[in-house]
């Protein structure tokens, strides 16, 4: 080794902070973040199902928390995370089949994922609110 210090004290790669954020890297880390967020969100799913099984006041409690403004805000965030993770997951499955690796295609499919995720989220919420007779 020419210039390195002690083993274990060598500079480690990659230095993420020296890279300019790109659509590929940003969407990649966002896939992980939404995955972790969705794992946390499963707690609410199980809570809601258990509350439905318990019935009575437990279910009324769960509904009031989920239906409150902060509950709806969390659900909105989770719905976007779900649609994003779903769309980008399909993008990953295409890569697994060896397709879409050209730089231009990767950027295009990335933006397509963002547009689809936003679109699906909006459709779901407009549909939900109109089912409740909000419009």
């Amino acid at each position: 080794m020419a210039t390195g210090g002690q083993p274990g004290n060598r500079p480690l790669s990659p230095h993420l902070q020296v890279y300019k954020p790109q659509i590929t890297s940003v969407l990649s880390i966002f896939h992980r973040m939404t995955g972790v967020a969705l794992a946390v969100g499963t707690l609410v799913l199980v809570w809601w199902l258990a509350a439905a099984a318990a019935g009575g006041e437990t279910f009324a409690n769960a509904q009031s928390v989920i239906g409150a403004w902060y509950g709806r805000l969390l659900l909105f965030g989770w719905s976007f995370a779900l649609f994003y993770h779903l769309c980008n997951g399909i993008r990953h499955l295409c890569w697994d089949m060896g397709r879409g690796y050209e730089l231009e295609t990767v950027a295009k499919s990335g933006w397509a994922v963002v547009v689809c995720a936003v679109g699906l989220t909006l459709v779901a919420w407009v549909w939900g609110y109109s089912a409740m007779g909000a419009f």
Binding site: R32, G35, V36, L38, A39, T42, L43, L45, V46, L49, A50, A52, A53, G55, F59, A60, S79, L82, L86, G89, I90, H92, L93, D96, A124, W127, G128, Y129, A131, M132
Partner: protein, 126 residues
């Protein structure tokens, strides 16, 4: 040209000695979750504002109950596989890493069991 030995190729386990089982399971559950999640979201959106009786009636119908059980099992399997990779990448202390993975796996199975039990309780006992 491959530098792998014939025996290594036959075993197909790679340097970590566990092959592609984790990778494959994550893809299989991902493929299964595409239709399951789209079905679930469309159903839940339709349930917006529903009362307890309507929610229970929905869960108790046989097709919904079976799909919910599949959704819960697949979701927690997929989540547990994904969280394991995240932990392996970001938690560097060996003891902390192993402990975190054990907690995530135990919690995932426990939550899946609780969710599936709730669905079955409503389906069988009303």
């Amino acid at each position: 040209m491959s530098l792998r030995t014939d025996l290594g190729k036959v075993r197909g386990l790679g340097s970590a000695k566990e092959g592609v089982a984790h990778w494959w399971a994550q893809r299989l559950t991902a493929i299964a979750l595409v239709p399951l999640v789209l079905w679930f979201v469309s159903q839940v959106v339709g349930l917006a504002g529903a009362d307890l009786a309507a929610v229970r009636a929905w869960i108790a119908s046989p097709v919904v109950a079976v799909l919910l059980v599949l959704l819960l099992g697949t979701t927690f399997h997929h989540a547990q596989l994904g969280l394991q990779v995240v932990i392996e990448d970001y938690v560097h202390g060996e003891a902390c890493k192993v402990a975190s993975i054990i907690i995530v796996k135990f919690l995932s199975v426990a939550l899946a069991a609780a969710g599936i039990f709730s669905v079955l309780k409503i389906a069988f006992a009303g």
